[in-house]
């Protein structure tokens, strides 16, 4: 693993910690959904870097999975917020 990959992973871990702090801190549901969306992007980046380091297709499959899951999660939360607004 070369220096650039280690540096990039360190930056991504810092980004993930900051993003998790945003999710955990008291904020609105929409804010949390946005933060989780950013977190899935961070995880996808980390998986891509890991895949290039290991030269391994399995991590790329996981990255595809995370990309899809992030989309489904944000759409689901958006629909949920909309339906809750209609109830009120």
């Amino acid at each position: 693993m070369n220096v650039a990959q280690v540096l990039a992973i360190v930056l991504l871990v810092a980004a993930a910690v900051i993003g998790i702090a945003r999710v955990v801190r008291r904020s609105s549901l929409g804010d949390r959904a946005v933060a989780l969306d950013a977190l899935t992007a961070v995880i996808t980046c980390a998986l891509l870097i890991g895949a290039s380091q290991a030269d391994d297709g399995l991590m790329l499959d996981l990255a595809v999975l995370f990309g899809l899951m992030g989309f489904l999660a944000s759409v689901t939360v958006a629909r949920f917020i909309e339906s809750r607004k209609d109830d009120q």
Binding site: N2, V3, A4, Q5, L7, A8, I9, L11, L12, A14, A15, A16, I18, G19, A21, R22, S28, G30, D31, A33, V34, A35, D37, A38, L39, T40, A41, V42, T44, C45, L48, I49, A51, S52, Q53, D55, G57, L60, D61, A63, V64, G67, L68, G70, F71, S74, V75, V77, A78, R79, I81, E82, K85
Partner: protein
């Protein structure tokens, strides 16, 4: 010659990785710094597209097998298609002040 080319590819992919990771860090910092939900979405959706695309380019330059590079292309296309749709739906759903 191929040595020079190989190290140039290495440097390029390293630059892509660091740029993508830096973008992700700036995006999550923006989640804390910006004032309302839609401006935070503006910060959060940049790493979701450009950050992932840069990391994918860096990975594609280093991967050896063609099928792996195809998977990377699938990841980028998927991200480019789904990320605006998700952001659009969230943007419509969040509360208006």
């Amino acid at each position: 010659m191929s040595d020079i080319l190989g190290s140039a590819v290495e440097v390029l992919s390293a630059a892509c990785f660091i740029a993508g990771a830096l973008l992700a860090l700036i995006g999550t910092l923006g989640l804390h710094r910006l004032a309302d939900t839609r401006s935070r979405m503006h910060a959060a959706t940049k790493p979701a597209t450009l950050g992932v695309a840069l990391c994918a380019l860096g990975a594609a330059l280093q991967l050896s097998s063609t099928s792996d590079v195809t998977k990377v292309v699938v990841i980028v296309v998927l991200q480019l298609v789904t990320s605006p749709i998700g952001a659009h739906m969230l943007g419509r759903a969040v509360d208006d002040k």
